[in-house]
Amino acid sequence: MRCLEAVIVNMLKEVEGGRSASSVFHLLKGKKSAQTIQDAHLYKLSKWFQTAPFLTMDTFDQIIGQLLEAGCLTGERQRLFVTDKGLGEMEASFDRTGNFSFLSGWRLAGTAPVFFSRLQLAVQVVSHFAYSDRTYYPVTRDEQVQHWVKQFFKQNSIEKKAMPGQLRRELAYVLEKQPEHPDCLLLRFSGHGQTGRTVEQAAEMLQMEATEYWFRFLNSLHAVIGLLMHGKEPLPFLRQVLSGITVSIPLTDSARKTADYLQKGLTVEQIAAARRLKRATIEDHIVELALNDPHFSIRPFIDEEKEKAVVKAGGTSAVRQLKPLKDQLPDHSYFEIRLVLAKESR
């Protein structure tokens, strides 16, 4: 039994009799639905939340099929039970790999990939700097990560010359503290004279089955992040890499969809029609965008003169009540007033 199968059997055992196999799939994928989030807590499976983002429904179905065939599971896909054979093989697998006790999917699934991506790029930059080598292709094409790393090096208080030594000491420290072989993380970094390995390649070098490597890698990464969050050691470089990770602008999915439509040049009416929503709902989204996105232009929805009028009527004052403003501005709609208020308050 591969490690991934052991994880799946372990989770199926927990939801046995209560939930179908697909709830396990959604947990591993990290589906953000009320049901899945509730399941994670109810069945104490939150550590596995979003720990197998690579999984597809097809491969998951195949795995379930194989487990049924091998006699590790029994029953219908809607109601699966783990057999003694399944339990035995699962335990044997966890005996070999450990049970990934540092995994914390629910808390870290959003943070960990961003942290790792930043760290990969920061390691690459510092390593090349240490060798005075300026010609290399960045290890990530994620523009937000690139932008962050650029700012990080601009504003950092650590002296540039001291960085290679500092980063090496900090990495050596956390690599010794975390539970897996240090190469689980280290092999994935690119730097001067070495190119990072893919999951598959790292697994091969460490002579592990690929899914075992994947969970060990994640366990190690989550352990390092935990150490940075809760430890007392002075690790200024790594703590900064972890700091301020927000998973993009906090917009509701629905507002994001409206933003996409606006980008395509649709009007409020067209969006309302296309999404079969009320005009007022779309307007709520636009106010949400104006409130959260510093680059969002409200100009398509209100002209400059009208905007100025709202500001003049007290839109910047601390009092944020709509009714008195609306009384002063009979030609403005509530939507227009809210837009200006949203923009002014961001």
């Binding site: 690579f54 991506s117 390691v123 510092v126 390593s127 240490a130 060798y131 010609t135 290399y136 292709y137 960045p138 290890v139 990530t140 094409r141 523009e143 937000q144 290679p164 030594g165 980063l167 090496r168 990495l171 050596a172 690599l175 072989h181 240090p182 190469d183 280290l186 092999l187 970094f189 690119s190 730097g191 001067h192 004279g193 070495q194 190119t195 990072g196 390995r197 893919t198 999951v199 598959e200 390649q201 070098m205 993009s248 602008i249 994001r256 933003a259 996409d260 980008q263 395509k264 040049g265 996105d293 510093p294 680059h295 969002f296 232009s297």
Partner: protein, 480 residues
């Protein structure tokens, strides 16, 4: 000459490659230009260099996101910071801030879909565009290799930008396609620079094998004896992965696969490993190679026959950019072309899907079975075209589908005939592009060539890496 100085100072080259000087001078004289330069000869320089002599930004339209990103990175590597790629993957917030600062950029890369968005066009129209570049311009023509419906709308976009000075670049366009490019872009007076598709330093070898099992053996043998690094192309992802397993089992350790199904970060690592010389051979689908500037690729092997000659020439063109002897080997088992017939079908929506979208008014996103990105784009594009021409939607879209499929079948047949022909390989492909063939040594399997020239010397297996993790860390960050 000033352009020679810039070539040396900014780009670090001492001389132009064939076609570059002609193209650049033509643009600097203010003429719209169409240049056909064979793959692997530095097409991007043709717009990069003039950018430094022209006032205002250069807009580059490119069909593939990855290609765009490669070009952006190459410019940045040279120290050019005023580069931006506007694509649908850019976060909504990033895009807005980029649009507000658009005038600060010298190089603006765009996908054709982006040019159709009103707010993007609005932002672009505020600029005085120095040069409008259509990369992979053959995508504009239904007769061309890799036709993309969105490219059809570039003519209108160009007009909206005030018909700026234009450069159309391609590696593979016969006479008919070149006419089509000029017409669709409304280039009335155009300087055409057409250079030979022939790459004399690449020997062309076609091996017909009767037994599919024999093919695997041949692959292993070839990869073992040929000088490396090399690329092996497959028609499918699974075949590429399986080949890597096979090669590794036979002791060829420096093999890795690359295909569009992989995570973007992992794909990038494989690309970097290949560029850095860590890999001997990459087993890939056609997703690999475009935009990768690696000079010393010694062989390109086709495990499956490509869908058409143009694709074949593009792919073998990735060998021998440094001008050194290199080899292209195509392995053919009769019937290999059937796979492409299947792939071609799957690129278009089927009749049921067309009916749902065109007659039953179902949104393309809700059609069942779900449409791929290419299929959806096809449906949307020709749905609009039918409306504009006042034609019945369903019939119109089906007709386009049939026409395009027939054209692909024709291309497939042409490729197959080339494989099966008994004349000179090089002469045959040059004739397809209206060129006069000429004799050369080290030509092809029909004319004969010296196989020893492409064989690797002593096979020394690189010693397995013995570093422990502390050494690895110390190597990344030397010093105190």
């Amino acid at each position: 000459m000033i352009i020679d100085k810039i070539l040396q100072k900014t780009f670090g080259f001492s001389s132009f490659r064939p076609g570059q000087r002609e193209t650049i001078e033509s643009l600097l004289n203010g003429s719209d230009t169409l240049s056909m330069l064979p793959t692997g000869t530095g097409k991007s320089l043709c717009y990069q260099l003039p950018a430094y002599l022209l006032e205002g930004p250069v807009i580059i339209v490119s069909p593939l996101l990855s290609l765009m990103q490669d070009q952006v990175e190459q410019l940045k590597l040279m120290g050019e910071k005023r580069v931006i790629a506007l694509n649908s993957f850019l976060q909504y917030e990033e895009k807005n801030s980029a649009l507000a600062r658009l005038h600060q950029y010298k190089f603006i890369f765009l996908s054709p879909e982006m040019l159709q968005l009103p707010h993007i066009m609005h932002a672009l129209r505020r600029l005085t565009v120095a040069l409008f570049v259509v990369d992979e311009a053959h995508c504009i023509s239904q007769w061309g290799y890799d036709f993309r419906p969105d490219y059809r709308l570039l003519g209108r976009a160009r007009e909206m930008l005030g018909s700026p000075l234009t450069l159309a670049l391609t590696a593979t366009a016969d006479e008919k396609v070149r006419r089509d490019i000029c017409e669709k872009l409304s280039l009335d007076k155009v300087n055409e620079w057409v250079f030979s598709v022939n790459r004399p330093n690449i020997a062309v070898d076609v091996q017909v094998i009767q037994d599919p099992l024999e093919k695997q053996k041949r692959l292993t043998e070839l990869v073992r004896v040929l000088q490396k690094p090399g690329i092996v192309y497959f028609s499918g992802r699974k075949a590429a992965e399986e080949a890597v397993m096979l090669l590794k089992n036979r002791g060829i350790k420096g093999a890795a696969f690359y295909h569009g199904g992989m995570d973007a970060g992992e794909r990038l690592l494989i690309q970097h490993q290949f560029l850095n010389g860590d890999l001997d051979v990459v087993c890939a689908t056609s997703a690999f190679g475009m935009g990768i500037n690696k000079e010393n690729v010694r062989f390109v092997l086709h495990y499956h026959m490509p869908a058409q000659m143009e694709a074949y020439l593009q792919e073998i063109g990735r060998a021998g950019r440094d001008g050194q002897p290199s080899i292209a080997v195509l392995l053919y088992v009769p019937g290999d072309e059937r796979l492409h017939a299947f792939i071609a079908e799957s690129e278009f929506p089927d009749e049921g899907q067309i009916r749902q979208a065109a007659e039953e008014g179902i949104q393309p996103g809700n059609v069942l079975p779900p449409l791929s990105e290419t299929q959806e784009r096809f449906l949307t594009h020709y749905g609009k075209a039918a409306d504009e021409q006042g034609r019945p939607k369903s019939a119109f879209i089906n007709q386009v589908r049939t026409t395009l499929l027939a054209r692909k079948a024709e291309k497939r047949l042409q490729m197959k005939r080339w494989v099966e022909s008994d004349g000179c390989r090089r002469a045959a492909y040059m004739q397809l592009f209206g060129e006069e063939p000429h004799m050369q040594p080290q030509c092809c399997d029909r004319c004969g060539f010296d196989r020893a020239l492409y064989k690797a010397g002593r096979q020394d297996e690189a010693p397995a890496e013995q570093m422990n993790w502390r050494e690895r860390l110390n190597h990344l960050f030397p010093g105190q």
